[in-house]
Symmetry: C2
Amino acid sequence: MSTTLASRASSTASRPPVTTVRVALAGCGTVGGALLDLLARHADDLTRRHALRFHVVRILARDASRPRSTAVERALLTTSVAEFLDTPADVVVEAIGGSCTADVLARGALAHGRALVTANKALLRTQGPALAAFGPRLRFEAAVGGGVPIVRLLREGLAGQGVHRVRAVLNGTTNYILSRIERGDPYAAALAAAQRAGFAEADPSRDLQGVDAADKLALLAWLAFGADPSTLEVVTEGLPRDVDAAVRGAARSGRRLRLVATAERAARGVTAHVSPALLHLDDPLAAAVDEENVIQVTSASSGTLTLRGRGAGGAATAAALLADLIHLFQPGTH
Amino acid sequence: MSTTLASRASSTASRPPVTTVRVALAGCGTVGGALLDLLARHADDLTRRHALRFHVVRILARDASRPRSTAVERALLTTSVAEFLDTPADVVVEAIGGSCTADVLARGALAHGRALVTANKALLRTQGPALAAFGPRLRFEAAVGGGVPIVRLLREGLAGQGVHRVRAVLNGTTNYILSRIERGDPYAAALAAAQRAGFAEADPSRDLQGVDAADKLALLAWLAFGADPSTLEVVTEGLPRDVDAAVRGAARSGRRLRLVATAERAARGVTAHVSPALLHLDDPLAAAVDEENVIQVTSASSGTLTLRGRGAGGAATAAALLADLIHLFQPGTH
């Protein structure tokens, strides 16, 4: 079987020809490992339903000696960015995080003519428009909403509908912590549980201070309103210092504390803010449980559309990366 | 300005070239008229944000003398299907409804090499796979979910996630009637209000008996599981005969009556049914108010994703048609 994108071979007389896609994967931690597992588990389905065969040709790791997913072939591992970028591939999947290495990888991949699929909201917030200028082969469904396909929806599904407002719970980690506290955990135990579940980093400050939600909101404002995410000011306030007391106080008044991100297109431009809010129980955003995200998009034509689903976790994020891979290469979806 | 798809002219030095798309519109009742209004109102935005200019070249009407949207140029009107199909166009938008004329139009359009955008679930239920066999230029976001972009989501956004269950309120008309009864209207008044609002046909039996929901569910099962919608058996039960009593009875037990459509992929194949159900108030499907649709999609990777939005009405349906038009012709989304 050839391993180039250009070569297509008919698997049976009645099925469409199968395209083989060479994937270079940067990062094989929680998300990268989950993607490798997903590709292995769904290989038959991807070939049968989408006429695609994904062939992982290289894996960039920060530390090649760490134990990782059983789906990782050790011979594919490298710690050299240069070697990684020199490996012929059709697409680079960037799941390594951070900003410096990711930026070099993203520009290198696009400059080499490869498609780029990334989950890196911090990178996209500052570099998104510059990366998009390389052409249309940049995809980032996994950067916002986890398993909620809000990126594709704003890019395409709601195109032309005059979206004027996005209101959302975008940070699965803080929501998981708030949900645990509502069920009786003290804050410290809730945070530890979020870390054990793989939702919170060792340093959870980007989540707790609302910075992660602000990055995601800026990307949504870019998609919905064309606002430049690198210059958009998102007024940001994180969870209150005494979260336990705030959650209890909310419950006493029949409400729920949620970290709410809102962006609106107004006459003077786009306004955006992230802040804790006391929500009525019948507010759809109050329904976000554990790591869920809830996103409301309001447009002139369709009123308010509400989406709710898993907003964090390796499996949901990997599924979003896979959806981008399928969309980029599936014959006939274009 | 040229009116062919192939010709592209740069509007300014810095903007992408604008593509002019020739649209032949079949039907200009509620939905067709709303689409014409939308195209006129958003013309600038479509050019600026999507580099598209839609030029309506022909309008097929059942009766050219009926009063219609002010956006209709009378010189474009025809009642002849042959004349309509002979008009050179890049895309046919089918919003004329029914099955016989629509089928002729759909096959004629695709056979002439045009793209086809349709809202016609009854046609798609029986002819969808045959029409799709003409190639990838068939789009039908408006056929299911109104303003909820569930078609694109199942086709692309959730691709590869192993969807195994779809559960939904899919009929905006019955939901509007149930909501009115819950707020105190008797059934007859609620039905009359639905007809005045443009949600219910003069003969509402397809909605009330669950046939419309069954057609939509069959399309979702096609998209989600690859089931052939023309042969899929959807066990269908409509609203109960005494709707008033059923709604009151549900309220007394702290529940809500909703018409629920469910399709599941099981070991033995796909099962599908539509039936009235008494839902707990915290069931996301119970949150469907007035003409809203709520759709839950459950997959191995992403758990349950819930979408809620306007499921009926000219504006929401027209917005879905426009999203398909943009997706078909926008440069760089491919």
